[in-house]
Symmetry: C2
Subunit: 223 residues, 2 copies
DNA sequence: AAGTAACGGTTAAATAATTAACACATAATG
DNA sequence: CATTATGTGTTAATTATTTAACCGTTACTT
């Protein structure tokens, strides 16, 4: 099956757009839209239609020439590609404020990532319930990961502990780490890490804000 | 001052690396490192030295040929560029789980974004204190933004309300919105929005996990 | 004091991503 | 039944980003 291997050689930029396509399509589906053209879908996402078709082209045809996409076919196709055709059991490591926020974030479930384990070392937190899931002691980590067949972990521990915990997760069979600690994790090949750096986000926003303020100043002095 | 205008015409990819440079440099500064070459710094960030020099080149010389960068000069230079030479007062709109998590996220202060206002409409939350800041009623939004000269807002309200609140923020003088709601905000020119889509993050991770699993399967069948 | 190794700035080349263009297919229309 | 409008898949052109190459400087070594 050459397709599979090929379908993994896709630019990151395209991968990041897949969830956006899916989200919009689900929205259309919810209001009863059956067909949608590349132009309509692209326009609603503020991108070019050719880019959307180009993105889809990595995965083979979703329609045939002359006919728009059928929402009912496209949604499961994208879910398959993204890997959420079946629910993906997920763990949250670190039940501090951020961990709690994510554990209570209903969308995680809806989007295909049911939380099947929440872990912490703090005795004050252990036993607390969030959306029906108790906060468990880290001692249970390996057992629960195995029992629940968890493959993805969301890491919300202090950055000092991130690497140690990550090692343990990898050892326990986790192959996808969504890392919220501002640390670069070292992981072996065959493990995917995605760093979510809030600081990067707000700083690049700050850069643009500074540029806006500067251009406003210039406009004034130019008058 | 042509430099200012030019310094805003910088690729997004470069902008996103600036915080990483700054973070690493601060780390070096903390352990007493005075000089660092482009190669050393790049290597520690797992990028090419030429890319780092190319990035810096957008903003003019930070050193002179033959001499490595001086950490003590580079740090404030980057802070200036990013726009955090002075602390940037920030507001959090929505004191739910995520808003609370961010309000309690000490790094925000440290990185130059002191929280000067937390807002919600829920009477049960109003009055609660987080890091010395009370949760305020939305009625006070405009007043506090003005008094505290807040320019950046972190939006953590339900997506149904995101656009309405965003409009109000813009009206009140906010020019940078860090949006955690899974909605595309429409804002006038002169306002910067950065969308932080957790679902996008975890889904692109899921895509890579699926690819890893597939390639493992193939390896087995190939043997 | 000359030679050498290391360095940043700068420009050019290579690579990747986006956008446009086009060929062909479909269904609706007169 | 031809014609037209709309549409995708696919390839080509354009644009953006990354990487490499080179030049002039600096400080160190012998």
């Amino acid at each position: 099956m050459v397709k599979n291997r090929k379908s993994c050689e896709v630019p990151d930029a395209t991968i990041h757009r897949l969830p956006l396509y899916l989200e919009k399509l689900k929205l259309l589906q919810a209001i009863g839209v059956e067909d949608v053209s590349s132009r309509q879908l692209a326009e609603s996402l503020d991108i070019k239609a050719s880019q959307l078709r180009h993105d889809f082209h990595y995965f083979g045809g979703f329609s045939r020439p002359g006919r728009p996409y059928q929402v009912a076919k496209l949604v499961p196709a994208l879910e398959q590609i993204i890997g959420i055709a079946e629910p993906v059991p997920t763990a949250i490591i670190g039940a501090g404020h951020l961990g709690q926020a994510l554990a209570n974030y209903q969308n995680l479930d809806v989007q295909g990532f049911p939380v099947r384990g929440i872990f912490d070392t703090n005795p004050k937190l252990i036993g607390l319930e969030m959306r029906g899931q108790p906060v468990r002691d880290m001692d249970e980590l390996e057992k629960v990961i195995k029992e629940e067949k968890i493959r993805i972990a969301i890491l919300t521990v202090p950055s000092t502990q991130a690497q140690v915990v990550a090692n343990r997760l990898v050892e326990a069979g986790i192959i996808g780490i969504f890392n919220f600690a501002p640390t670069d994790l070292k992981v072996p090949e065959g493990v995917a890490v995605r760093n979510e750096r809030l600081a990067v986000g707000i700083m690049s926003l700050s850069f643009k804000v500074k540029c806006i303020l500067q251009s406003q100043d210039e406009d004034i002095t130019e008058v």
